[in-house]
Homo-oligomer: 558 residues x 2
Amino acid sequence: MRLDAEQLTVFLTSISIMLLMARLLGELFIKLKQPAIIGEILAGIILGPTVLGVLMPGFSAWLFPKTPEIQVAMDGIFSLAVIMLLLVSGLEVDLAVVVRQSKTAFLTSFMGIIFPFALGFALAYMYPNYFGINDEKMRLIFSLFMGTAMSISALPVIARTLMDLNLIRTEIGLIILAAAMFGDLAGWIIFSLILSMMGAGGGTLGFSDKILLILGFTLFMLLIGRKIVNKIFPYIQKYFVHPGGVLNFIFILGFLCAAFTEFIGVHAIFGAFIVGITIGDTAHLREKTREIIHQFVTNIFAPLFFVSIGLRVNLLTNFDPLLVLIVVFIAFTGKVIGCGLGAYWGNMSRRDSLVIGFGMNSRGAMEIILGLLALQFGLIQDKVFVALVIMAVFTSLISAPVMNYFLKGRMDFSLRDILDRQMFIISSAPDKDSVIREMVSLAAKKYNIDEETLFQQVKSREELIPTGIANYLAVPHAKAKVSRPVAVVAFHKEGLDFEASDKLPAKVILLLLTPQDKSELQLKLLAEIANKFKDKDSVESLINTDKPESIISALKNA
Amino acid sequence: MRLDAEQLTVFLTSISIMLLMARLLGELFIKLKQPAIIGEILAGIILGPTVLGVLMPGFSAWLFPKTPEIQVAMDGIFSLAVIMLLLVSGLEVDLAVVVRQSKTAFLTSFMGIIFPFALGFALAYMYPNYFGINDEKMRLIFSLFMGTAMSISALPVIARTLMDLNLIRTEIGLIILAAAMFGDLAGWIIFSLILSMMGAGGGTLGFSDKILLILGFTLFMLLIGRKIVNKIFPYIQKYFVHPGGVLNFIFILGFLCAAFTEFIGVHAIFGAFIVGITIGDTAHLREKTREIIHQFVTNIFAPLFFVSIGLRVNLLTNFDPLLVLIVVFIAFTGKVIGCGLGAYWGNMSRRDSLVIGFGMNSRGAMEIILGLLALQFGLIQDKVFVALVIMAVFTSLISAPVMNYFLKGRMDFSLRDILDRQMFIISSAPDKDSVIREMVSLAAKKYNIDEETLFQQVKSREELIPTGIANYLAVPHAKAKVSRPVAVVAFHKEGLDFEASDKLPAKVILLLLTPQDKSELQLKLLAEIANKFKDKDSVESLINTDKPESIISALKNA
């Protein structure tokens, strides 16, 4: 069975229009200092039955026809897209940080499931009639479902939001990601339990087999798989065409493990995410390969997936304002309070706990997939489904702006929040100006700042008083158009003269950019950095390293 | 309609196994100094009904089930894959060279259609019974079909073979590509004429409308579209996130134009190819963006498409040895002699004409798609279909090794055969050794040579007698493990001392690598280069350029 010429025409046209709208709205939101994903989800709502379907029903029916062939072909693309997205998100995870934060992540995740689950369960169990459940036998199952629906979160949306906000490799970002991963796992396991209680659960696997398999798979990949990958990566890079061999290896393993977790009954994206973590941690994965995958997936495939969320359903038909309000309220308070409390008990500050709570709040496409399955099995009515979808879209839309708001006000950044292994260069620049230029250029690209202005700012600060401190450290700095502090670290083997008091050349050069209105923050961070370089012996062992890449982790963990 | 969990599992598993087999066999053929595409097509034959289907029918049926959902989802992926591949191939085309060679390309293409068409038509018309055509009314239509089937060629296979052989930006490569493009266009127009004669032609467009539209589209894109792209590209790179904005723009335009040509009734790949040419020519497309697209598409998507060829049909059932022999013989002689004669009349040498003839001979998936359509419409019998498929696979497999064979023996390379705009760098290296290192590193990566050995070879030659010539030119050179001559050109604004007789610093530095057993070839090329730099005035106007990128074209055209 193949797509015929007419179907292929429509298929290609709708993909290009989806990409176009996603890009335009995504860029608009970037200009508004919001993450692109909000624009991409809105693009889907506009192209979908909610707006285009009402305004131009003829064009909408042509562009997104109900033809099964086109729908299945699209679904295949969307599935690959979300799997690739989770693979890329996994590549960004620094497992060491997750492990160090595992207590906080676990508490966050646990509370973030229990609390909204209890609220959702209680509500449904007390007022089954309101949701249209009149069959007493269905009451328990439906209540369990509502609990799950309130507590599930959307790893793809969360991961993408963190990437858009440049938070994915920070401490907060990794706690959110780890918690979302635990949560996702628990959510899908609970949901497959509900399905099997309804007699609808697919597959031949028993429930305990499922849990054993998925835990076994996860532990195997993260403990042993990582070591294997670390061993065979150099061989692939040596004996296969580069970067083709490595690219293929990543996708082959990603798709295969995605197939495996889908087979077990946990969603395919989970396997892809674990593979991403397994591979992303190896020091052998070169920046260029990472960049090729990252750019292609986040710019071509991820937007298609986020647009597809809005295409699935009309948000205005079967709209029950009260029900929507209740569902949104419970989902919101349950998740934000649950996760927030968990994070707070895990020793995060009050403000960071709030950021984590809102970060975990996105429901995205997972909620919609869950709702669709429940709708197909006759467990929920249309109006409940629509309420769940609106809740999913709303929580996904609101998450980033709220996080941004709290992060902007956040004054207690410490060095390990802002160190980022992607903002690290090994320099062999001939002089001070050149190394500053290299670092400024990296920061300017990443944070969309004008390179020339920034360079002049850093240079004039440097001319005022040179920023060489002591013990091989220099800290050029400036206030810049950034919403939170940014650090770029350069390692220079021979060292460059930054006129330090002890006359030693600077081998570790840290460029610090802070928001324009936060003078105290700049002072605090400068003091923290200087403090880290107090002990000459430990500094010398740090800079005499064979693996400059590990300087960042050493600084973070110090 | 969606893929259910079981279907998604199978879908993902088969994609990863296809990628795995393609990579393993592809690498094997690279080791054998053959292009990867041969391995990829063989991977498909092995995974398909011909081998795996016979050896392990159960596993084969599980991995590639006849479920319509999975087949359609796969077809969607394969369609995107081949469209992306043609987009990438288009990006590599240097339109100026095509235009300069348009007479040769047109003659090659014209003869390459007429000659095999006449043979195929005559055979079918004289012996209709042999092909199972007993209805006198069908005789003409069937003969027209056989003519077309003999004359069509496969742009995707040809383009990929040229990329694999590193020929795509050479003169021969571009003549083949341009001729294949003309040929493809003519082939699909003739085929849609046949379909409409049978009353099977889809769409509401009249035949003359089709031709008008496709010619109009092609001319518009290549004449006006190119200028528009050139104008708006800097804006996209400035105002949109980079490289995301540009990546999206390329794919949006590519998919949209693919949809348009598919709608007209010419295959979708044609539109994508034209978009590739339109965009690839702009000087504003950065190397990094090109690299991201190139690596992702040729390593992830293109292999899926080439594997899919072998999946479509069992080559051994309905195998009629005599029929296969006749079809292969006619296709071969028709195409190779036709194109070869055309190229020869277009002033190519005898050997180059043969290379072009074999380069044009690949039928690939186009033939199989043509055959499938004809089979569906009842125009041909199974045994004819199988003969066409075997011919398609065989011509695709044999094309690269034969081209390689003739190219290896080829002694009459001239400078413009070996200049390549991807092998050009703008250097600001501080000294002679550094610039040589930069050039060697580029060549070593591209042609899989050991960088250190090569560097030492070039350096020791340089120490023997410095290679500065005169008029700002230096030509460091060495014999290396390459199958054909390779040039890297570096432009250095300030110039570096290569001890030239006129004491002028070298601003154009050309690194020349020649095969180890071809001393005369090295001498001939060195003489040709020195000759190009005889006239001091024209050299000065060349090196005082604002656009160093155009040095390569200037040298080629001089």
